[in-house]
């Protein structure tokens, strides 16, 4: 059988000789090159994730910080009109969704095949679960849940959704960092309502937003050291 090794390279469209075609000097060189390439790929594929986490960290910090600042007994340094706080909160979340969605879609660009299924299911899981959580809150509000309880309920249920999604992400892409993050987000969302309004927003901003930011830094550092 032809090994496919002895051929003359006669290119029709490109007459320059191939680059990096010679046998490698030594196994060491080959191993070094292999590691370098695998490291570069990992950086390329995982490099966006710290940014996704960072964007969400800032969004939670700013968004819930704004809500906390809308109460008389909230932020002691300055107070925001509730309407302004609501707009800041919504803007922060929408911006984070848009930016992180864009980064996530770019992560796997140019690749088709079985792995697309996991990514697509995971991607669609976010809006499905998020919208369902929102409708539950609306149903409770329509049946008499007052504004104060709503301000406890909504952050808690969204934190639960986000936490579960991060745990799923940890399972699909085998990431312990994201598992830890998911658990912290769930703990935050569960603990926050016990503080009552408006302190629950502060808990969400500091613990939740902080967890995202710490996770972003940890993932960035670990992907660097793993590929050195």
């Amino acid at each position: 059988m032809q090994t496919g090794l002895q051929y003359k390279v006669v290119m029709t469209t490109n007459s320059t000789p191939p680059v990096d075609d010679e046998p490698l000097q030594s196994p060491d060189e080959a191993l070094a090159l292999l590691r370098e390439q695998q490291g570069a790929l990992e950086r390329d594929q995982l490099g966006g994730i710290p940014w996704i986490l960072g964007v969400w960290g800032v969004a939670w910090l700013v968004g819930f910080g704004a809500l906390w600042s809308a109460y008389d007994d909230g932020n002691p340094w300055f107070q925001l009109p509730p309407a302004v706080a609501a707009v800041i909160f919504a803007a922060a979340l929408v911006a984070a969704m848009a930016i992180s969605g864009w980064i996530a879609i770019r992560l796997n660009r140019g690749v088709r095949g079985p792995s697309n299924f996991s990514g697509a299911v995971y991607g669609i899981g976010w809006p499905i679960a998020g919208f369902s959580a929102y409708l539950m809150g609306v149903a409770l509000a329509l049946n008499g849940m007052d504004r104060e309880l709503q301000s406890l309920f909504f952050p808690a249920i969204f934190a639960l959704v986000a936490g579960v999604m991060y745990i799923m992400s940890a399972a699909i892409w085998r990431s312990v960092d994201q598992l830890v993050l998911g658990i912290i987000i769930i703990v935050t969302g569960t603990a926050a309502p016990f503080f009552g309004a408006p302190t629950n927003n502060l808990v969400m901003a500091v613990l939740g937003g902080g967890a995202f930011l710490v996770a972003a830094v940890v993932m960035r550092l670990s992907s660097r050291s793993a590929t050195r």
Partner: protein, 98 residues
Amino acid sequence: MTELDPVIHAAARLRITATLASLEAGDRITFPRLQELLDMTAGNLSTHLRKLEEAEYVAVEKSHQGRTPVTFVTLTRRGRRAFEDYTDALRAVLGGEE
């Protein structure tokens, strides 16, 4: 001494094979994206892909997305096995170093 597969044992093809092997089995990647990941010229990448294709390590598939032609590249089962054998052989040559 263990033979190192000469098809893979060249800088460009080792990098290409390693990149394709990092995809999940059965996943295909577009030519431009592969080129971007490898930072190689299109001409050079095609030349090396042709060699890998001749060894049946790589399958190149042309299809269409709407009207634009898209070229997908994937590692064949044989190619994936060859890459694994290659990395095993490399480790064996280097004295079982992890």
